[in-house]
Amino acid sequence: MDLNGDLVLRDLRKEFGDFVAVDSINLTIAQGSFFALLGPSGCGKTTTLRMIAGLETPTSGQVLIGGTDITHTKPHQRPVNTVFQSYALFPHMDIFENVAFGLRRRGVGNVEKQVMDTLELVQLAHLARRKPGQLSGGQQQRIALARAIVNRPAVLLLDEPLGALDLKLRRQMQIELKRIQTEVGLTFVHVTHDQEEAMSMADTIAVMNHGVVEQLGGPLDLYERPVTHYVANFLGQSNTFEGTVASRDGEFARLATADGEFSVTSAQSSGTLAMGVRPEKLEIAETTGNTVPPTANQVRGTVTDAAFTGVSTQYVVRLRSGKEVTVFEQNLLFGRRAQVGDEVTLYWDARHSFALPASAAHAAAADGS
């Protein structure tokens, strides 16, 4: 089957008994893009991947490639290949035969050149006659990749392909994978629970939780403008404040909270709202020595913990309400560092605050008052 075009998941759903693993998701994955499905284990990302591969039958919904419905096409008839988490290299075949496997099954006549070219691409052509058991984890990972991309599938699925590698090798392979994806121009769908991995490699990320897509967007977009508490805390850390919209100030809503009033980008003019801000966006007036700009959000608190981590110092500051916020201060060597017990003023540019829906508990409390 020769198919080209976007991969579309339409109302795709999978139930295992009473458990809903994937809850009617809709996604369009552009041809040639590097797409990541990001989420914790059990969020449904691997099940989604297996339904695209045809290894799992959807309970309902459709999988389409370039407009052709392949929902009920058998795995071996789909132009889709998978790089398995455990690599699943055939232990009884050498590397060459592993890579040639898909070509031979499709009846491709002379596989020699394609196999060797692909092995060159992953820089392991010299190991063609070895057995998988003789290769290191990183090498096996590359062979698993070569075995899939040699078939030039319309979509390449990667199921936590770097999960078994150590940190250094993983970073190296991330760059390598990105290079290969650019070189071969295939659509990559990458499943991972590592947010840094997803952000550094993918053009578009879908953050999944409990079988649904919480948010879809580019890495920068997701990080700077998360729309749910879950995304705000799964991708990096966030400090969040709950409050009620008191007034409006241009593009900002003025949010009244237990720790004072803050500006947050929002169209809302009344009702409850939550606001988030990333720890590295907070600055401590006492250590920077700057005066707080008049338009900035600011709040006073007491330092309760200071941990030096090399690139930054991570502070925990307790506010008046008892809420603790995290502050990452870049390590610039100059100026003084705040000590535990210091009274400090935190401030940040109002454009760094992002609006989140108020948590159910807060909304209910606000309603009652």
């Binding site: 295992f16 693993a21 691997t46 099940t47 297996r50 290894l55 799992e56 039958t57």
Partner: protein, 291 residues
Amino acid sequence: MAEASAVGSRSRTPYLLLLPGMAWLAVFFVVPLVSLLMQSVQTPLPGGLPGQYEQTFRFANFVDVLSRTEFLGALGRSFLFALLATVAALLIAYPLAYAIALRAGRAKPLFLVLVVAPFFVSFVLRTIAWRQILGAEGPVVGALQALHLVPSNFSIYPSSLAVIAGLTYNFLPFMTLPIYASLDRMDTRLIEAAQDLYSSSWTAFRKVTLPISMPGVVAGTLLTFIPASGDYINAQLLGNATTTMVGNVVDSRFLVNSDYPTASVLSFTLMAIILAMVFVYVRRAGTEELV
């Protein structure tokens, strides 16, 4: 989620795969057991030749046979000898399996080959070798006599002890291999963890190693006890008229005396008791995954 969606599940394929083998077992295992049961309730054909019986469903045959002391004695000896041989085999095999699994190092494959090696020599010849080893002219008795521990006319063969020794020896590999397998699979760091948590070597063995190896012990004792209880080669070659086991009686009643009903009653009773014991034992040992 990792559940493999079985190829061709819920189709006719599994039944086609099962059919020939299961049919073979039905015809040559289940049907014979029915024949055996039928034969156990036959009576001699009036006016017929010896060995000619008619189907009269005389269930009293069971009472008649099982009330005769010579048959009851044979049954009792079968279970007693098998039990003693199983215990002896367990005591010999456990340390051996432990040594091979955890102390043999690079010699492990060699030791394993040597454990199964006796299987490659005919069962009967192995047993006859014990007759020579334990006989009046053999090295064991010779050594005992040289040390003046036994009188000059002493002999171990033929005796109950010789029969039990033969059973122990012949089924020892059946005991050793499953125990070895369960110990070999064990993560040895568990022992280290137990010792790290203030267990002495002995406590670590009792609380960690032994429970983990229980499935192997259960399998080994069954694989030893079942064939030992039905065996008559050892009793025949290493014993005498006072060491007769139920297998000897079944053999001679069937093949020598053509007394099919008596032989069938004993054979059927042996199987019923063993199956009952196996199921109780497997239940209590908590390992139902034997197959």
